[in-house]
Every structure is written in C-alpha cells, then in structure tokens.
Symmetry: D2
Subunit: 442 residues, 4 copies
C-alpha cells in the first residue's frame, strides 16, 4: 500500500458505483486511493463503460488524481489489490425478477434476500465468490474482501466456511439506516445514542441507550409508532405489533417485517406483482433511468435519483469499512463477520451480523449476550437455513436445497413449494452448473 | 407400596380409561395394583360413572381383586398415591373443537397439539397440572406423575420447569406406533430392530438398525414408500418427500407431516372442516358411540371400536412405563423427560422426547448425539415456541403468547394470526383466568 | 460371522490372556468363537508361545473346539476378524518402569495412566493403534476394536478423532470393581442397585440408587468409611475426605486418589520407589511368576495368582462387551466411547467414559446430565490434557507436549517437570519416532 | 450528576489513595468531581486521617476545588454517590501476611490473589462487598461500583451472581502494565498496537497486532526473551518457557508465572519467607514508609516511592474507567465484567476479564473467540475454582471450600492442604463469621 491504495470492485458496472465513488472521494484524506479497478463480465460491458466513464468524471471533478480502470479480466484486476469489493449480480436484475415473480406466481413470497428468491441468489452467487477467493489467495493474499452482494450474510459465511478466508466483511445498509433515522425520530444526534446490534444479515435486532447508558429502546419503539422509522426504500412500510416489540425489548430490522407481518407483506407483494411489478422490475426501470443519466458527459457527481434505488448509505457502510481497516480507525460498524462468541446462541465459528469496532484487524465484535427465547429460536432456525442453503450451493444436492426450503419460515412446505423450487432451478439453469444433474432430472 | 400399588387417574372419565385398565390387567403379575382412583370434575360426573363402572366390570372379569374408586375430590384421591396418570382435558372435546375450527375458519391450521390449537390447550392445561403438582408435593411426595394430556411435551416441561417436580414422564403413542408398524413393513420382529428417537413430543425423528447394528433407516424409508407406515388414526396419510428423508437419514414422526407437507395438511384439514367435521368433531362422535357401548352392563372388556379413537397402544406406553418404574425393569420407552444432554443441541435442563431405559429412577436417556443441520434448527425454534407458550400459560402475558404464535412454523404471522389468537382467547375465556385482563381488553 | 466368531488379540502374549480365555469359555454359549488369534511382536515371541500354549490347553479342557493361533504377523491375523482386542504394551513393562521411576527420581508422581508416565505411554501407543486402525480399515472393516491398552480413554479418543474409526470401545476394570464391591459393602446384590457413571477413563464419578430409585450414594460413602471399598490392587488404599465426597454427592473412582490425596499418593509411591519397587516392578515379579506357572503343561485354567496382577474382572469387562455387541444384549457396561451429549459439560464429539447399554450398535450412552461445579472444572481440564497429549502423540510437537504436562494436575510446572519430560523422551527414544527431532535436540 | 460527580472510596485509608487522587486531578476536565468521600473502618481511622489530609493537600495544590470527606460511616458516604470504588482490605495487611505465611510454613505457595491466600481473601471480602451492594441498592441505585479489591475477578463475580448488581467493573493493573511495557520493548508507541485480552483476573492471555492488523504476538514473545517485560513489582521475574508461548501463540499475564513456573515461584517465595519476608511483609514496610511520607504537611503530590508498592498504573485503570463511563468515551480497557459470550469457552453469564470498550453503558466486551485447548481447559478449571470459592464465601460450607482448594492448580491435595486450610480458617476466625460453625469444629 506504499504508493496509495488499490481498490477492485467486482460488478463494477453496477448503478451503485457512483455512490461508492462519492464515498471514496469524501474520504480521500484518510484513504489515499491510487487506482480503482471496475471489473465486470461480457454481458455487463456496456454498463461498465457507462458507469466507469462516469466514475472517472467524478474523480476528475475532485481534487484527487485517481485512475479508473475498466476490465473484463478479473485476474488482471485482482493483482496486488488492497481491497476487493463485491457487488456483482449473477444473472443481473433479470435473474432477480425471476426470483421474485416465480414464487409470486404461486401465491408465495419470493423475498430476494432470505426467502426463496434469496436462496437461489445464494445458489448462483456462492460458486462465483468462492472462485474470487481462490483468485485472491493467489493474486492478493493480503487484501480484504468487502462484500455487498446479497444475500450478504450467506455469501460471507460461504467465504469463511468453504473459502477458508477470514479477511472478509459482509455489509448492509439496513443497520446504517436505523442509526440515521432513529436519532432524528427522537430529536437527538446519532452521537448521543449507543447502539448494539445482533443477529444475521436482514435478520437482526438492536438495542439503544442514551449517552448516560440508560436503555431507551422503548422510547424508540414509541417513536416508531408515531413517525416514519426510516425504512430502506425496498421494504414496504407496515408497522410491527407494538405488544411484540415491547415483549422483546429490542427493535427488529426492517426486513423482519417479512417475518412478523408475513401475511401483509405477501398481500402487498402480490399487489405489486399484479400491478406495477415486483421490486426488481421497479429497480430495473430506475436503473435504466440512472444509466441514461450516467451517459450525460456533464454529470460528474452522484445524481439524486440514486436514492430511489434503495442503496442509501451504501457508501457510508462500504467506504467507512475500508477506511476503518486501512486507517485502523476502530469505527463502530455493523458487519457480517465470524461470531467469536458475540452471539452466544450461535456457534462461535459461524458468521453473524453484529456491532463491531472495525480496524486494521477487521471486526472486533461487541459481545451481545444471550438473546431472549423467541429471538434465539428464530435465529437458530434461520442460521440452519443459511447453512443448508450454502451447503446446497456448494454441493448441488437437491435434498439439501429442499431441507433449506422447508425450514425457511417464509416458505409453506408442500407441493407448491416444490413447484416453485423446481421452476426456479429450471429458470436459472444457466447459472447453476452445480445443480446440472438435478435440473436435467426435473 | 407394601400392600399393592395405588393408581390415580386424573381425567378418569375419559373414553381411554378401559384401554388403561386392559393394560393394567395384562401386567398385574408385575404391577400388583391395590386400588385405582378415577378422578374427574363435576362436568364429567356422568362419564366418570359410566366408565368407572365399566372399569370395575373389567377388573371383576379378571382374576384380580382391584377396587375402582370414582371421585370428584382430587385431593382425597391423591393421598398416598404411588402413580398419578393425567389424561384430563380442560374444556373437554368442545374446547378442542374450538382449537381446530377457529383457525380453520380463517383458512389456517389449528393443529391441536403444537399448532395454534395446541398452544391454547397448553394455556388451559398448564395451570391445572401445576395445581396437581402442588397437591402431589403435599399428599403423595414420592409418587410418579405419568402424563398423557396433550401437548404432552409442553405439559411435562411445565411440570419440571415451573412445578420443580422431576418425578414426571410425558407419554405419547406415536413412537410406539412406529416401532409396531415398521418391523411389519420390513417383515421382521420388533425385537430384531434397534431404535433411537430424539426430538420433542410430536416433533421427533428416529433411526433404525438391525440386530447386527447396521443402520437400516433407508430400508424403512424404502418400505414407507411402498406400504402403509402405520400412522396414528388422527393423522392424515400423505407421504413425505423421499429426497428429503434421504437427506436427513432419519424418519420423522407422523405429526411431522404438518411441517413437511403443511400445504396438503391444510387442504385436507379444510376439507374436513367444511365436510365431515374436524378431527375433534369426529372424535366426539366416536366417543358418544363408545360411551353408549360402555353403558352395556355386559361389556367387561375393551371394545374394538376404541381403536378408531386414535389412542392405540396407549396402554402399552402408559402401563409399561408404570410397570417399568415399579419393577425397575429398564425397559426401552420413548418418553418426554429432562434432557440431561441426550439431545446436545438443546439445553441440558429442558424437556425432550427420547429413547430411554425406564426403571426405578425414571428415565435413563440414550444420548442421541448432535442432529443434522435442518433438524437442529427446527428443533431449536420449536423448543423456543414451547418455552414461550409455557411462559405465557404461567404469566398470562399477551406479548409472550404473540411471540410464541409468531415463531410457530405452522402459523403465518400477520393480522389473520392475531384475529385467530384473539378469537381463541375469547372462546376459551372461562378456562384462561390468567389471561383475564388481556381478554377483557380484546 | 456365519461359522463362528473370529477374535484377534493384539498383545496376545500378555499375562492377562488366560483371564480373557476364561471369560470367553464362560460365555461360549452366547459367543460361539471359531478361532482366536494371539498377535505379538518379535520381542514377545517367547511369552506368546507360553501363554498361547496355555490358552490352547484351557480351551482343550473346555467342551469347546476353539483353535488358538499364535503369530507375529498382525495383518495375517486381522484378515476378516470380527473383534480385535488390544492389550499390547509398547516397550513392555520395562517402559512402564521408566514411566514411573523417572518422575519419582525427581520426587514427582509418574502415574502410569494419566500422569507423566501415562502421557508417555500415550505417546508410544497412539501411533501403533492408529496403524492397527489403518490395517483394520483394509482387512476387517466391519470388526469392532475393543481396547484395553492404557491410557484406555486417550487411546480410544485417538482412534475416533485421528483414526476416524467409530467401531471402538475402551475398557477398564475400575468401574467393574466398584459395582462388585459396593453391593457387598452394603449387604445387597449387584442387581439391587442402579449405577450411573460419568467422566473420563480413570477419572470418573458415579452415583448409586436402590431398586426403588432412591439415591443411596451417601450410604455407599458411609460404607466406604467403614469397610474396604474394593480398590484395584494397583491403587494404594488411602481414604478420600468424607466432607468432600458429601459435598459432591458422588463417588470418585479409585484413581481419583491421585487427585484428591496427591500428597499421600506421592509419599506412598516414593516409599515403594525407594523400597519394594514401583508398581511396574512389582508387576514384573508377578508376571515372571505367572509365566512360570503358565509353563506348567498341566495347568489348564486361570491360576489364582493372576488376581494379584491388578486386572481382576478384566474378563468381565472385555468378554461381556464382545458378547453384548455380538448378541445385541443391551448390557449395562461402563465404556470409553463417543460422548454424544451424555456428559454435557464436554463436547459431544469427544470420548468419555460413561454407563452405556451395549448392543449390536455399540454403546448407547446414558445421559448423565451436568456435573457439579468442581467435577465439571476438573473434567474439562483433564479432557484438555488428554487432547493435547494425543495431539502431541500424533504431531510430535514438543510445545504441545509441554502444554499437556503443564496443565496436568499431577505435575508441578517448572524446571523439574521439564527435566522429567526430557529424560522420559530420551529414555523412550526408540518408541517415539515422531519426536525424533525433539529428542535429537535435547 | 448535575453539579459534579460524587466519588466514594471504600478503604479510603489505603496507601493507594494518592495515586487515585493524581488520576482524578489529571482527568478533572473530563470528570468534574464535586466531592470525594474516603470511607474506612475504626481500625483504619489513623491511616484514613493521614491519607485523607494528604489527598486534600493534593487537590488544594491543583487548580480544582474538590472537597475530601473522611468518614467511618459508609452509609452516610454512599448517599447519592455516582461512583463507588472499593479498595478495602478486610483484616488489613496483617491478614495478607497470614494468607501468605501459613501456606509457606507448610512449604506451599499462598498466592494472595488466586492461590490459597487469595481464596481466604475472597472468604473475608465477599460478605462485605455484598453488604456494600445492598447499601448501594438503597442509597445510590444508579451508581457504578468500580472494584479494585482482590481477588478482583471473584469479587466482581460475587457482586453480579449473588449481589444481582450489574453496574460493576473489576479492575487490575496487570493488563495496563503489559500495554505500557510491550510497546517500549518493541520500540513502538502504544497507539501502534492492537490488543486483545481474554481470560480471568490474574489468569488471562493476550494477543498483539500491529497497526496494519498483522499478528505480532511472536515478536513480543521474542522481545520478552531479550528484555524486561514490565512485570508488576509484586511478581518475581522468571521467564516463561519459550516453546510453550510459541505453542499457544498468546502472551500469558504476569501472574501466570505461578502456573507455568510453579516450582520456581515456590522456591523464590520460600526464600523470601525465610529471608526478607513475604510480599505482604515487604509491602507493610513500604506502606509504613509511605505513611511517614504522607504525614509530611508539605507533600502535596504522589511520592515516587509509591511505585514500589506494586500498584503502578492503578490510577490509569480506575480513573480512566470512571471517566470513560461518565463521558461515554468508549475507551479500550481490560475489565472484569459479565462475559456475554466474549469468552465462548465459559458460560455467557459468568464474569471474565477481557478487552472492552467502556462507555456510559459499561463494558462492551470484544468477542475473543475460542481459546486453544490448553488455555481453554485451564480457564475452565480456574473458573470452577472461583465459583466454588465464592459459593463457600457465601454459604460458609466447608466441603465446598475443600473442593475449591482441591481443584486449585497451585494447591497439592492431601493432609498438608487440609492443615493449611484449617489453620487459615482459625487464623482469620474474626473475619469469617459465615464459617463460625466450621471453625468451632476445627
Ligand atoms: Mn442488505
Ligand atoms: Mn401424542
Ligand atoms: Mn483401567
Ligand atoms: Mn490485579
């Protein structure tokens, strides 16, 4: 890192890239980047060019001299990288459209991160991330892998468990949103609150205390039932049950709506499915607009419209994590990382999402302590679902995939579930070589 | 016990009682009973008289001199008891009809043992069983409590955890059925097979080996897809997915159909709900017929028709357990009992259902070892659901009940679930004094 | 096994062999042996011949037609074996003499089973047992390995953990002794008592109940302070502290004297060391006498003098285990076997010594439940010591051996311990090829 | 705390108090103290006056207006306190002299913090700290208890487990010493290193990384064998075994010398015992000198000689902890606190000593992850020893005390240990009312 930092972004042609650039530009003083490599695949060549050129314009408009490299050659890019960020999407948004629409076509939630859709996203993604890790072992063995590709927690677990690579952190903007919006709802500054998160990606809870150390989680709950709680754009806003939140004494994450209000989330999803299109279809439109904007040779900063994309605070999570590692900053960030006991209800060697102090050694997780009964039970079944999904992604075993489907709380077992699963296998055939035999049989 | 054994049966007016008598008569040589007290409540007085008289006829037709006492005074009966069996049903079958029909009226499974219905049965039953335990501490502190009242596992856990009473065993005929029918399906004798069960009541799995020690679970699976697997009468016969069973390498219990084939079990249940009536309604008819038979002053043995009731092998489980304790027989029985590590995926101090050698000290559980990932995760969330249900039954806390409902795999969270729960609270108001405040608010 | 059972005994030239033969003859009806192969090494050829001839005479004097084969070719013997018993002693008794005398020469206990001596016995034995397992995988993959070689628990753990061989049971006569002598002390029959053991080999505790299920451990404790508690001949008889036993509510095993009365055991050991010789030296004399007896062509039964050897009830443990597996007898035996949760204070996958029902599938461990605080802590450090010892035996790492030495409760850390360890390395050089580099450096 | 912070120091007459004052004066800007109450007992009245007057002089020489109150009335002092620090010594140094000398008189280590001596210190201290906690519940329920009294870990565990008081932190200067001296040994600044500690008080290990995140524990080990490793003055300087440190890949704490070099520590201790006196006797002399100095009406700052006392960096640990809580500073401090999973090898609800970020909510422990085998085993037996010692301190049960003695690695079991224990009971009779019956019997 002597002459500045080399960043490699896999899936560099993503519409998110300008947000990432903005985050890096803002932090240049503490994270002196030398070069950024945006990597994509042949199918994404055009987008890569658009967004890469846009990214270069952003840097050129900044006081800093940073070179953007665009390439389809991942190995060329990885050579001597300091940080590798992953935001690739196997099968692009079209694959996510299938992840969502096929379950809905049978009246079931797809949920593209930890429902049926997310599980197939894991099946497509995990073999690729493991290839990336193998490349990294050879080409940049000291680099950190900062993953944003969903399902972020499962991808991180796969990297640790099957890739045997510990220098990885999984990120998500959901916890960032909570820590941005809750203080506003309470009329205080973020710095006035003490946060503690624990759970899994898109399945965590948190507690809040004031700067005197008093637990004020209940005040946040009160405020949630008065005001907007700052949900990510991609989550339908439906309230939790107040009795339930008071019983648990914690605040669930936005995605927990799928679990605590499954019925309403399904109803809403089906409305969109039958109307304006599922979230992925909406995002496709937004993306198309974004790329039109990015083509504008005069645009040299992140456009407002990116907010609608659902990735708000993405840069904060990703760039801050990289800056914190690089500068050994000990910043509090909520990350997916090896448990080490922080969530004692799960094995010490699995991946969890927790508040951590992030520095040169990676994440120093804050030990959360044992969860209450309901959350413990649900967490344990969700981790089992994740582990089975990852195992199926690696082995290509149909029975294992079926087991994962069956214990997933968002999926009702039975023939419809089987049909959904089988149809998803066939729809994603091209990206699931490990399941080739199974798919041939279907 | 010097002058023969004193048995007390709470809920003695049940139609099951003749089956129990048959079991005792068969085992008189090893279990020399002096007197049997059948206890019931005012509402059950007539049935108690019918079945008690019938029971006395059964003994009179036997070579043994055993006196049947019928009483509505539980404390009188409990004095100096050696064994107390519990088969009472708070609110009688009518309550179970509500447990089943209210959920179905909203298109959801009630499942009277560990679904929504079973949870309300727990709410009604647990306060009573804890009163019984308090009486036993005073009146028969050396007696054993042998529980058959469902949800048998939760009731046993409540006795151990909140009643602080360890001399208890929870029974169920489901494992007995498996060990009776599977050998037949394989064309061997029961004695030729080695069984190992682990899990929770109505939520356990088992493995089978031949008498050379070779695991032949897969052969049983093969046979299950050829022949009738010997389901209890109260479980609709729909096959498991073979891929799934092969992945787990174990055989689920019959009730697992609700979890592995939720959709089909719901469809079937709704058909019955809209047609011949739910299981409870069918049982009511069967019971009415049975009591007509029992009235016959010439009937002095268990009638064939009792088979239809769904309690086949009931006597085997209950009487054998009592005989095994009394005679320190070290008989292999599957019981609900304190874990002690037998299922290492659950805390050592909770109640599990496992193969045990039953003798004078109660159950010596066979250590099963760690379960595979899917079963571990599901078991952990089910135990959490049980613990929350029991806690709500004891504290009367609405939020806790809601948490239990939410994590129950058979219940889809959301407003319909809330409506079902609230309607059940109101329907069972009379038997849920601990929830009086909640119900008043609804 | 169609034409009778083939038994292979490695270390067949041991003076114990006649005891084993007696056990087999007694059980011939249930364990129809066809042939017995006694295997030994070149250095043991003479003893093998004496004892093998004696063994054949024993069978010839019985009604059964069993052929004793004597061989130095282990692989020839193992071919198609049904049961392999191991009672070999790497370096023979002379090695044990060193194990004991070198520590004593520095004023420290050697303790040949889980002290410094036992650790070096593990270093010598584990590589050989792992070779035997490799042979078994090839030559008799369905055979059971029944190990008697000390340290029996560590050897069994090595077979399971590093040999990846689960069809193994580790045996010891210490628990047998307890269950033989305690009933006598209480004036009852063995069948009148219910036993439950848990811990590690030579480091376990047990509880006793009467046939009504009442815990009478305290009565056994009372009796221990009145009468002889039936110690194995190789353990010096010094009483435990009664206050301590009452606090734990359990009975320690005889070897626990080394832990609960370390000072007195050391004093006694030093007396023997400076006087009549250490236990190994005494045993050598006994053995010499035994072999003289065995040479007598008229001797065709186990001589009385074998009792003095310290292996009383050896045949009961070994032959009964084999008969129980062969006949799927479900006999209660205390064995070293994979935990599976039976001792929940230790990992489910490590080897423990517990009460088990032994049948065709091997051991079905009785779940003991959590131990009290003191025993839990001590058990955990002892298992850590065992694991480190085994790891050092496999890797040959000096630092790992030093760690095992340091945490062993019988060893006082410091330069004397280092000297003892180094001197033992040098003394056993010939049998410790895995430590060759270390020894060269010393 | 509106008008400044109220600090109460129990054991205020200690020679350490000026160090504490210095720490507070240095941090006045961030910790605006209003008043300090020094509490002591009648027997310490004179010392309290000397040191209290000296403390007032120190503040008077500072720019700040802080009033020192001296009192023998603990309850008066505790009223509305913000922070309570405890540094009292039941029985004063004379008791520690007995803790050390009685074991040495039998040739055994006393070790005044977690050996036989420390256990008796726990017996004397725990009843008092629990009384203090009861007073705090009534008089200052929002205050934090910052404990320095040894055995600091056991005292903290007693406060949490039996006092049911979570607002407590146990402190020790040993980790501070390591983080002060190791950077010097490496020629770097403290800020350049990343530390992670885990274990128990006086029984922990740590790892060190550089500011790039590279583990450099081995470099510190190298340096330890070159240079002085910065031991506290009260620990004899004898090197660890390098092979052992390399195997564990961690650095033990200074007190670990008693465990890794027991023999040499005993030899050295006996030399002092027979020569210049045990550590307590030396401290007594130092203390006498210190109090002579403190009497000097011109002395208004901490004298150099206090260094010799062994409490160097005491102020850093205590005052920094208080300032970090008060100011919600999130400072990295090594504290004894509830585990919460940070050391997954121990129960989540016991007290451990770990790196934590300390702020308004107390300690946010860094999850350390599982320890290697040797350290795990030893930690588990030491925690068991602590729990038994605390239990005996609360119940006064002799058998429990004996169990704690027996499993303590520094104590050789047997009659000498019994004699030592009994003699210590008698010697400390006055301060052990809970053991009155036992002592009467001895
Ligand atoms: Mn996310
Ligand atoms: Mn049942
Ligand atoms: Mn033995
Ligand atoms: Mn200290």
């Amino acid at each position: 890192m002597t002459k500045g930092v080399k960043i490699v972004t896999i899936g560099g042609g993503s519409s998110y890239t300008p947000e990432l650039m903005e985050g890096f530009i803002k932090r240049y003083d503490e994270l002196p980047i030398r070069e950024i490599w945006l990597v994509d695949i042949e199918a994404g060549r055009e987008k890569l060019e658009i967004v890469g050129t846009m990214a270069q314009r952003m840097w050129d408009a900044s006081p800093y001299d940073v070179k953007i490299h665009m390439t389809l050659d991942r190995r060329e890019a990885l050579k001597d990288a300091d940080f590798v960020t992953t935001q690739f999407r196997v099968g692009l948004l079209n694959a996510r459209v299938k992840d969502e629409r096929i379950p809905f076509s049978y009246g079931m939630l797809g949920q593209e991160t930890n429902g049926a859709g997310g599980m197939f996203k894991a099946f497509r993604t995990i073999p690729i991330i493991l290839q990336i890790v193998e490349d990294m072992k050879e080409l940049c063995p000291n680099a950190w892998l900062v993953n944003f590709t969903n399902p972020s927690g499962m991808v991180t677990e796969a990297v640790v468990r099957y890739g045997k690579w510990d220098r990885v952190m999984g990120l998500c903007n959901v916890p960032v949103m909570a820590t941005m919006t809750e203080p506003k709802a309470l009329g205080v500054e973020k710095e006035d609150l003490i946060y503690k998160f624990a759970g899994l990606n898109h399945f965590h809870w948190h507690k809040v205390a004031d700067d005197k150390g008093n637990d004020i989680t209940h005040k946040v709950i009160d405020a949630m039932f008065d005001k907007d709680a700052g949900l990510p754009k991609n989550i339908h806003d439906i309230p939790f049950y107040r009795d339930q939140l008071e019983q648990m004494g914690m605040i669930p994450c936005g995605y927990h709506r799928y679990y605590y209000r499954e019925e309403e989330m399904l109803t809403h999803g089906l409305e969109e499915y039958n109307g304006i299109g599922t979230r992925a279809q909406q995002v496709k439109e937004t993306e198309a607009e974004l790329f039109e904007l990015y083509k504008d040779p005069n645009l040299d900063h992140k456009p407002e419209q990116l907010q609608k994309r659902g990735g708000a605070y993405y840069s904060d999570a990703a760039c801050e994590t990289i800056a914190a590692i690089y500068g050994n900053k000990d910043t509090q960030i909520v990350v997916s990382t090896k448990n080490n006991g922080a969530v004692p209800d799960l094995p010490a060697d699995c991946v969890v999402e927790v508040t951590a102090y992030v520095g040169a050694q990676g994440a120093r997780n804050v030990a959360f302590g044992e969860l209450p009964t309901a959350e413990r039970g649900w967490l344990q079944v969700m981790k089992a679902m994740e582990l089975l999904t990852i195992e199926a992604a690696v082995t290509g075993d149909y029975g294992t995939a079926l087991q994962a489907f069956t214990i997933n709380p968002l999926i009702r077992s039975g023939d419809t579930a089987i049909k959904i699963m089988n149809e998803l296998f066939i729809a994603h055939k091209k990206h699931l070589p490990q399941f080739a035999e199974t798919i041939a049989r279907l």
